[in-house]
Symmetry: D2
């Protein structure tokens, strides 16, 4: 898996904070732009997140190149509807390289690993034969396993990144999508360390685990303490 | 493939038209509700579509049960972001039946068909073995082909149905998703014949084909006639 | 202010719960439809809300006629982007009746109330004069106060209703929009009492107040208990 | 009215085109990034627009500071739901300056202009008196006319800009929102001239006018030529 931040709104944290502040101010975003100290940016970012005032986070967007994830995972990823995706088409692009993802639970079992690899090879082999026989790529690909690698460009704004990370960095999410979001977070941290640090599982925000079973980091909340 | 309309906004066409009319009227939707003749509903529906005033079409929604489409196709389907999906999880549900979709181009070639069926069988066989060996379903499914059948519940409002049909009923779309949208259209037509009749490929609305090559129904537009 | 539920997805709670259950089941929504007891519907609805699995709530939608709210409030309302609105146009409809909203803080002060009413009257008077002088309604309305009444049709799905109520039933929201959402909630409760009961301010869900100052129902959370 | 582009995705046209091309290519967006000539960017941008393949346009976003538009117009503007807005709050900000917009149709009639200006003054005067009497700003503002100026930060991606301009640059749109979109277009043209040039009324794209009456630039389409 390879995740690269290829483009983003310059000064993403300042953009969020200056926009937010302009809504409760006589000043415009342009006037505020040059008058916010790093400390103020930091404080305001936290304040907005703590109070759930998330709409200003939409003003900053991040565009990633994502390569080498499985179609199983890309199918989950694109369910986040408040983002933009341009995925490599299996209709128009005939896959030449035989690339696929192997789950760690399979890697660990030597005999299944061998069977898994043979299954991948034979699926790709049949795919190639069908292409040669002029079966269209869009149909030949039906034989390809869900493990097959895909690549896509994704643009997500900071609000949706905060939301998606709250779900997908949860250890109950699927291992491959957890890894994907860890890499997305790392890329954001590189250029926007304060914002990147705020990309975390939902329990860190809630102060408790709202899943049926906790992974141990935060306890689940007894229902009686929550309702009044 | 099986598509059933399981629920929908009652009186979907009246809802759209009465809402639309209320915006340019002293009357409310409740007053208009009982004062629109079938002919007026028909005329207004066409007028709204012809002039591209589509937002009132959002007031009527349709909920479908969709079974027996491939994961290749469901991956495309869920890219329509202005709709709601609840798909059978391959993480929580271990597939028991070995059901998969076969593209017609493969059915037509007897020797590939046999190979295809064997590939499906052996992928499902390995999947079952892995489940028995306690590999989690969410990982075992990596070996399943993209042809594997899935089921999902989809709710789409009439505006997005008009839009999605304009793209997916185009004969240049992929055959399985064309068939899916033909069935969605047929189900809508059953309860809302006027609206259903308006679900058609984009060329019928544009009066020309905007794809690179036309399927023959409408000609492509020479660029010089379009720009001024 | 007058709020009427004019249409909605039949069996809205069953629709949500049956869709949700189909995602982790071998059964389809059609099979589950007839096999869920009222108690199960109730339990599942709560479970989904408690664990934040909200996407199935999108399968049920509610269409309201809203009359007699101020343009000040409708401007706020339409900021909820995940909903559909058809508002009476001040461009195409010349307002004949002089209807406006008066905030309680003004009603309480007799002398300001009189001035307020005179201001409303004279604004409407100038509006009428301009219309008679053939100034277009779309321009004449610039003189109308933000208190002026408007009517609109709104369709919102149950997920967005849960979200919007969590914000707008908070006592720190503006009084007129609080009243609007109380009426929306009452209308939903009429046909879907279990869902209606779950429309409540965010603090009831969080177990604490995340605003800067609490209204007293739930205490604010000391930041040290929330971060780890 | 003052419109300033305060931030945007760098290389917005290249971003769109490189993303689009990666979907039908063995190459990634990173590889394509450095291998597209200005001419190719130009051609591809046009091709995408002509064929209605608009989703790659979502990868580039533009953030504007908008000042001095009326609340009448901002109410219309925020109806474009696929964009992000942070508007100056009339709840938290007490307006100090008496700024308002005057429609040209009123400016032209000297006697109405005087009445209009007096109406604005007296509304602002009552507003100030109420603030002094400790009526909250959120209630005092009910007396302010819809002409009152507002400021907001808006982020819109290039796809929605293309769509919104297709509607709002139409001469049948309201004069103030036409002017707003002309200025938005001019700001985009400054940094992305090819994209900016493609921001135009829908008739330029359709080749005909789909409104009931044409402004004269393109004729309306006789219905018989459009249906088959």
């Amino acid at each position: 898996m390879q995740v690269t931040l290829v483009n983003y709104t310059p000064n993403p944290e300042l953009t969020i904070v200056a926009a937010a502040r302009s809504s409760a101010s006589q000043s415009t975003i342009e006037e505020l732009w040059h008058n916010l100290s790093p400390q103020q940016i930091d404080d305001l970012l936290k304040q907005l997140l703590d109070s759930g005032h998330l709409s200003p986070f939409e003003h900053s967007s991040f565009t990633f190149n994502i390569q080498g994830i499985s179609r199983a995972t890309s199918h989950q990823l694109v369910r986040h509807r408040l983002a933009s995706y341009t995925q490599q088409s299996q209709r128009y692009v005939a896959l030449k390289e035989r690339r696929y993802v192997t789950p760690p639970t399979i890697t660990k079992q030597a005999d299944f690993l061998a069977k898994y690899q043979r299954a991948m090879e034979s699926a790709h082999e049949l795919y190639s034969q069908m292409l040669e026989a002029n079966i269209p790529a869009e149909d030949a690909r039906y034989v390809l396993p869900q493990a097959v690698e895909t690549q896509l460009v994704m643009t997500m704004n900071a609000r949706e990144l905060v939301h998606a990370c709250s779900l997908r960095l949860c250890l109950r999410a699927q291992w491959e999508i957890v890894e994907l979001f860890e890499r997305l977070k790392a890329e954001v941290e590189r250029v926007a360390p304060r914002l990147g640090a705020e990309l975390k599982p939902k329990c860190y925000r809630l102060g408790y685990c709202d899943e049926r079973e906790s992974c141990g980091i935060f306890p689940t909340l007894k229902s009686e303490t929550k309702t009044k």
